[in-house]
Point group: C2
Chain length 306, copies 2
């Protein structure tokens, strides 16, 4: 497998894309940023055997590598534009590469995201690093640091599905919905865009709702409380696991790639697919309630696949 040839055949689509002067094939890509916007850059790596099982379908690996980066772009409220890919392969076959490229472009094409450059290397452990550059109105990027006491705390979609899906995948059990929620997370790019000027703070949920919400509260210098009974749980998760396990996955399971954000409830009432789960407070720390009781939740942490 020759790197140069491989890139040419599967990754260089020779499309004319807005804002791309020079794409794949030179020493670097030449891009034309929108002079009226700020640029958002994100980078995320998936390692075989750590972030996904080794026998994962290559199309899913690639889709997921793009989606987790799009999720960071969504959490900033930005429009995704350009992507680069650093791919370390261990004797990948041509069909493997073809499937990987198909999954990559499937995820990218959902968002008019162009692959503009990359580097392919050989190595003992398959490693996929994707970067995405997006654009956002000047001064409008959603940060982790703007939550204020009295704001409501929201999440998008449903939480806990991905961790449940991964558990099923590892036990070779089938639940198409939950497994797909792990393999092909849905980055909330459109919701992120609608939160511009409305959300006071935002983060995407990669390490688990509790852990990521705590990061947001800490960055904002505030605290908060959430009501566990209000967590949005999917029907599939309800059917497959008991209530305690549902809540464990929802609170501490990672890889959901939903957004968690804070806002005045009135400002976001027309945004679909969001659920209020709590309130920002002035005192430090995060309190979990179940109706009127304070509950102690172990969030000792989610360690991805391993």
């Amino acid at each position: 497998m020759d790197e140069f040839e491989l890139i040419r055949r599967y990754f260089d689509r020779k499309r004319v894309v807005a804002g791309v002067e020079i794409g794949i094939g030179d020493d670097g890509a030449v891009l034309v940023p929108d002079p009226l916007k700020h640029q958002v850059q994100v980078i995320d790596t998936l390692v075989e055997g750590v972030h996904f099982p080794s026998d994962t379908d290559p199309a899913d690996i690639a889709y997921r590598a793009v989606a987790v980066n799009l999720s960071d772009i969504a959490a900033m409220g930005a429009i995704p534009r350009w992507m680069t890919l650093a791919l370390t392969l261990n004797n990948a076959s041509e069909p493997w590469i073809a499937a990987f490229a198909a999954g990559l472009f499937e995820a990218a094409d959902n968002h008019e995201l162009a692959l503009v450059g990359g580097d392919t290397t050989g190595g003992p452990t398959m490693t996929v690093t994707v970067t995405i550059s997006g654009e956002v109105e000047k001064g409008a990027a959603l940060l982790r640091s703007g939550a204020k006491p009295g704001d409501a705390i929201f999440v998008t979609g449903t939480v806990g599905d991905a961790a449940a899906g991964l558990a099923l995948l590892q036990r070779h059990e089938v639940d198409e919905f939950l497994v797909q929620r792990f393999l092909r997370p849905t980055p909330r790019v459109e919701t992120g865009r609608r939160l511009i000027g409305k959300a006071s703070a935002a983060i995407d949920i990669s390490d688990g709702l509790l852990g990521d919400l705590k990061k947001l509260l800490l960055a904002s210098g505030v605290g908060g409380e959430i009501d566990i009974s209000k967590l949005p749980i999917s029907d599939a998760l309800r059917e497959k696991f008991d209530l305690a396990q549902q809540r464990r996955y929802a609170l501490t399971g990672g890889d959901d790639y939903e957004l968690c954000f804070t806002a005045d409830p009135g400002a976001v009432k027309n945004i679909p697919g969001i659920t209020q789960i709590g309130t920002v407070s002035g005192s430090a720390g995060l309190v979990c309630r179940l109706h009127d009781d304070i509950v102690d939740v172990d969030d000792s942490g989610y360690r991805h696949f391993r």
Copy 2:
């Protein structure tokens, strides 16, 4: 080792940097591109045991990871501005990380390059992916594709040193200059800037002079010939290896990270540290001459460390 803590302690320098609205610590970096320029993005990965021996000093690994990306920026004629880092570590100690960060910033600070984001992951194989965004005057980026028959072919610095240095390193022999040329290549950013508007095409030498020059000629739809007697060879390489080996390293040894470019000789006569080695022709392919004889050079390829 906690990823969040690790990043905070060694990579987040909390400096105020021009053009960086939000640096490390949120879901993404927020940057302010120069509206009068185009952006150049490059990405390169170094894998332990493939691109460097496992026992390489972490400061050198990091320095080199930045330098090889800066070399791509140089080959485009751009000004380096922002860097992101995806680091996969296998049980790295805190001293290791401290040394890595020191080498990273040493390479970056030479060029006023700011680290604006990253992702740290655990995995069995240490892998370092760096991206750099640079800026270049609109329409002025140096491409591989502009060489014209009659242009002269130049290289910067001296060639062959890095491959010789790696060979010495692997044999545990000492030659400070040659080994440093491998471990800490000098990206020719300043020369790249001076070539704007003067060079007709440029590429950096990562895989070996012959291979990379062929890529440039192919991208330009031209051919060329070089005179092997004109290759710039360092005193250290001359002293340590016989003439045949010097030329082998110079022609097919990789990792030099010098620039190879084409230009009207008159246009670049005031640029220091460059050597004319040949001429662009209208016929396809690359011919190597030794004075008046055509020589057949095996460029079956350089495979980095492995």
